[in-house]
C-alpha cells in the first residue's frame, strides 16, 4: 500500500504542474487548450538542454522557456489578435506535437546524463520523512514533487490574498470592469498565459526527465487533456487542483498495482475510473452550481475595449 502511494504522488506530479498552469491561464480569462502541446515542447527542450549541458538547472529553464514560448504564441494570437481561443489552443497542441517529434528525432532512445538523473533522484527531507506513514509518501520524493507543493501554496496565496491576484481574477471574471478600474488587462492576460505555459512545460519535462529518463517521442500521451479537465474538476482552486491531481495520478497507476494490492477487479474497469470520476464530478458540480465553483465569467471571451 505504501509503495503504491509513493508512486501515486510521483505519477501525479506532471498533472499538478500542468493543472496549475492551466488554472492560472483560465483564471486570467484565457482558455488555452494547448496544454498537451506545451507539455511536449517543455519535455523536448528540457531533455535537450539537460542532455547537452548536463545541468539540471538548464533543463528546467529550457522546459519553462519552451512552454512559455508556446504560450506566448497563444497569447499573441488570442489577446492581441483576438483569434478564437479554442481553435488556437488546438493548433498549439498539434504544433507542439510536431515540434517535439522534429526536435526529438535525433535524440530518440538517448538516456539523460547521470548528473541530471542524480538531481532528480528521490531525497528525503530531514525530520519530515520520519513522520509515520505520511513521511515516506510525501517527504521522500524528488525535488520536483516538493516544488509542486510549494507552488500550490504560493499560488493559493497569490490568487486569493494579494492585490495582483485579485486584479488577475478580476480580468478573468469581467475584463471590461477590470479595465475600467485601471487594471492593465492586456498585461495581466499575457503574464498569466505565459506563466501558465511555463508550468505546463515543467509538467512535460517531469515526464521526460524523471518519469522516463530516456527520450521517447510523445511522452505526454493525453495527460495534457486530463489537466484541462482537472481544472474544471478543481473548480479553479489551486489546493483542490493539487488534491484532484493526486487522486488522478493514483488512479492512473492503480491498474498496474492491483495485483500487489490484492485487488481482483478487471483492469479495464480500473483504467476507466479516472474518466468516470471526471464525468461524475462534472455532473455533481453542475448540479450544485455553487457561485464560487463557476468558471471565470469572461473565460475564452476575446476583449474588445471599443465594444464595451
Amino acid at each position: 500500500m505504501e509503495s503504491f502511494l509513493i508512486a501515486a504522488v510521483a505519477a501525479s506530479t506532471p498533472l499538478i504542474f500542468a493543472t496549475l498552469g492551466e488554472l492560472v491561464t483560465e483564471k486570467s480569462g484565457s482558455l488555452n487548450l494547448g496544454v498537451e502541446g506545451m507539455m511536449l515542447m517543455g519535455a523536448v527542450v528540457g531533455f535537450m538542454a539537460g542532455f547537452n549541458t548536463g545541468s539540471p538547472a538548464a533543463a528546467l529553464l529550457g522546459a519553462m522557456a519552451a512552454g512559455a514560448g508556446g504560450a506566448l504564441l497563444f497569447a499573441f494570437l488570442t489577446v492581441s489578435l483576438r483569434a478564437n481561443q479554442v481553435v488556437t489552443g488546438l493548433t498549439l497542441t498539434i504544433f507542439g506535437k510536431g515540434f517535439a517529434s522534429f526536435l526529438g528525432q535525433p535524440m530518440l532512445g538517448l538516456v539523460e546524463p547521470k548528473s541530471v538523473a542524480a538531481f532528480f533522484s528521490k531525497k528525503g527531507i530531514p525530520f519530515l520523512e520520519d513522520i509515520p506513514f505520511f513521511g515516506p509518501i510525501f517527504f521522500k520524493q524528488d525535488v520536483m514533487v516538493y516544488a509542486g507543493y510549494a507552488l500550490t501554496a504560493l499560488l493559493a496565496v497569490y490568487m486569493f490574498k494579494t492585490k495582483l491576484g485579485l486584479n488577475m481574477r478580476a480580468t478573468g471574471e469581467n475584463t471590461a470592469a477590470a479595465d475600467a478600474s485601471g487594471v492593465n488587462v492586456t498585461a495581466h492576460k499575457y503574464a498569466h498565459v505565459i506563466f501558465g505555459g511555463a508550468l505546463c512545460g515543467l509538467g512535460g519535462a517531469y515526464l521526460a526527465l524523471v518519469e522516463v529518463p530516456v527520450w521517447q517521442s510523445d511522452v505526454v500521451v493525453g495527460r495534457g487533456w486530463i489537466a484541462v479537465a482537472l481544472v474544471i474538476f478543481a473548480s479553479w482552486r489551486p489546493v483542490k487542483a493539487f488534491a484532484v491531481s493526486l487522486v488522478f495520478g493514483g488512479l492512473s497507476i492503480l491498474g498496474l498495482r492491483m495485483q500487489s494490492l490484492g485487488l481482483h477487479i478487471s483492469q479495464y474497469l480500473v483504467d476507466m475510473l479516472p474518466y468516470l470520476a471526471t464525468i461524475a464530478i462534472v455532473v455533481v458540480s453542475a448540479y450544485r452550481n455553487r457561485k464560487g465553483d463557476l468558471p471565470p465569467g469572461d473565460l475564452s471571451v476575446p476583449y474588445f475595449r471599443e465594444e464595451r
Binding site: 505519477a11 532512445g109 522516463v212 498496474l256
Partner: protein, 371 residues
C-alpha cells in the same frame, strides 16, 4: 486585417507540423541512379530510429537493400498511424507513385487497408507484404515470427539469475501475441527453476513511455528482480537498473540504455524474410505465402548475452538454442496447464503455429491482475 494575420499565422503553425511528418525519404540511400532497380516501399508505424520495434524493421530493410547492391531501392514512410485509414492509403499511394512495386506494411493495423488495395484490382502491378496479420490475396502475403523460441531462451536466463524467484513482465495488452510471449518465457524459466513465478502487468497501450516505467516500478516493488517486456521503450530497463535489478529487452540488441541491467533480448532479423522474398519477386517466382520465421530460419534470434549473464545460464541457453536451430525443440510440448489448473496441452501433444495462435490463457506460474 488582424484577423487575417491571425488566421495566416495559425495556418502556418498547422502547416509546419504536417511538413515535419510524413516526408518520404530513401532508406540507406546507396541505390542512387539505378533505373532498373526494384523499388520496395515500407510503411512504418513509428520512427526508423525508435530504438525498438520500427528500428528492427528498418534494420531489416537496410540489410536487404545492402544485400542487393543497387538492384533494390527502398523508400520509407515513418510515423503512419495504424488507425488512420486515409493516412495509410496515402502513404501507400505515395510510395507507389514514387515507383514502388512492393509495399511492406509493418504494423497489424495496416492490414485491412493494404488488403483492400490489393483486392481492388487497381494495383495489380504491386505486391503487398504485411507484417503480423493473416490476410492474403493474389498479390498480398504476410509474415511473422516464432517469438516463442527466443522468449523461452530468455526465460531460462531469468529463471537462473533470479534470487527472489519472482520475475516481472510488462505487457502491452492481454492478447494472444503477448500471452504467447509470457507463456514461453514462463515455461523457459520453469524448465530450470520450478519455484519461479512470473508476475505480469499490462499497460493496456502500445505506446505510453511513462506507464511502461511505472509498470516496471510496480513489479520491482513487488520484489521482482528480473524484468522482461513486451512493449516498445527502454523505460522498464532503466527502472530495473535504478532498482539494482536485471532486465530483458525486446525487438533490438540495444544494451546502451541500461547497461547495468541488460541481459539480452528476443530479437527480429527481418532481412531473413525480406531477402529471399524480394529475390523471388525479382525472379517472377513469388506466390503469396503466410510466412512464420523461426530461429532455424534465422528470422528470430536472441541478442548477444551480456556479461551479466552467468556462465551457468549461458551454457543452459546454448544447449536449448542448438536444439532449436536444428528444429528439434518445440516450446509448447505437453503436459501444460494454464494458471487456473486446466490442462491446455495434453501429454505427448505439441502445439505448432496454428495451435499456438489460439492461446488465450497464461500458463501455470504466470499471473496477472486480470480475471
Amino acid at each position: 486585417m488582424k484577423k487575417l494575420l491571425a488566421l495566416a499565422l495559425a495556418l502556418a503553425m498547422a502547416l509546419t507540423v504536417s511538413a515535419c511528418q510524413n516526408s518520404p525519404k530513401s532508406g540507406a540511400g546507396s541505390a542512387e541512379g539505378a533505373d532498373d532497380a526494384l523499388t520496395v516501399g515500407f510503411i512504418y508505424i513509428g520512427n526508423a530510429n525508435d530504438g525498438g520495434y520500427t528500428q528492427a524493421h528498418h534494420n531489416g530493410a537496410v540489410a536487404m537493400e545492402e544485400y542487393f547492391e543497387g538492384k533494390v531501392k527502398t523508400l520509407v514512410m515513418e510515423e503512419i498511424s495504424d488507425t488512420d485509414k486515409q493516412a495509410i492509403r496515402s502513404a501507400a499511394d505515395s510510395l507507389i507513385d514514387q515507383g514502388a512495386t512492393v509495399v511492406v506494411g509493418t504494423s497489424f493495423g495496416f492490414g485491412d487497408t493494404l488488403y483492400e488495395m490489393a483486392q481492388s484490382g487497381d494495383y495489380d502491378g504491386v505486391k503487398f507484404l504485411h507484417f503480423s496479420g493473416n490476410l492474403m490475396a493474389d498479390n498480398m502475403g504476410n509474415y511473422f515470427g516464432a517469438t516463442e523460441e527466443p522468449r523461452y531462451l530468455t526465460g531460462i536466463i531469468a529463471g537462473l539469475q533470479t534470487k527472489t524467484n519472482k520475475l516481472g513482465y510488462v505487457g502491452a495488452y492481454p492478447y494472444t501475441e503477448v500471452q504467447i510471449g509470457i507463456n514461453a518465457f514462463t515455461l523457459g524459466a520453469q524448465s530450470v527453476n520450478p519455484d519461479v513465478e512470473v508476475n505480469v502487468v499490462y499497460i493496456n497501450s502500445w505506446y505510453d513511455p511513462a506507464k511502461e516505467s511505472q509498470a516496471a516500478e510496480a513489479l520491482l516493488d513487488q520484489g521482482c528482480d528480473v524484468i522482461a517486456q513486451h512493449c516498445d521503450t527502454t523505460g522498464p530497463q532503466l527502472a530495473a537498473e535504478k532498482a539494482g535489478a536485471l532486465a530483458i529487452g525486446y525487438n533490438l540488441d540495444n544494451p546502451t540504455a541500461a547497461p547495468g541491467a541488460w541481459l539480452t533480448a528476443p530479437i527480429w532479423r527481418h532481412e531473413a524474410f525480406l531477402i529471399p522474398t524480394i529475390e523471388k519477386i525479382m525472379a517472377g517466382s513469388w506466390t503469396p505465402e503466410s510466412y512464420y520465421g523461426t530461429m532455424k530460419d534465422g528470422y528470430m534470434d536472441i541478442a548477444k548475452l551480456s556479461s551479466l549473464v552467468s556462465p551457468e545460464a549461458q551454457a543452459a541457453v546454448e544447449q536449448v538454442k542448438e536444439k532449436m536451430l536444428a528444429g528439434e525443440f518445440h516450446v509448447f510440448t505437453g503436459p501444460i496447464q494454464d494458471n487456473k489448473g486446466n490442462t491446455v496441452v495434453q501429454e505427448g501433444e505439441t502445439l505448432y503455429r496454428d495451435g499456438i495462435w489460439k492461446t488465450d490463457y497464461l500458463v501455470q506460474g504466470a499471473s496477472s491482475a486480470d480475471i
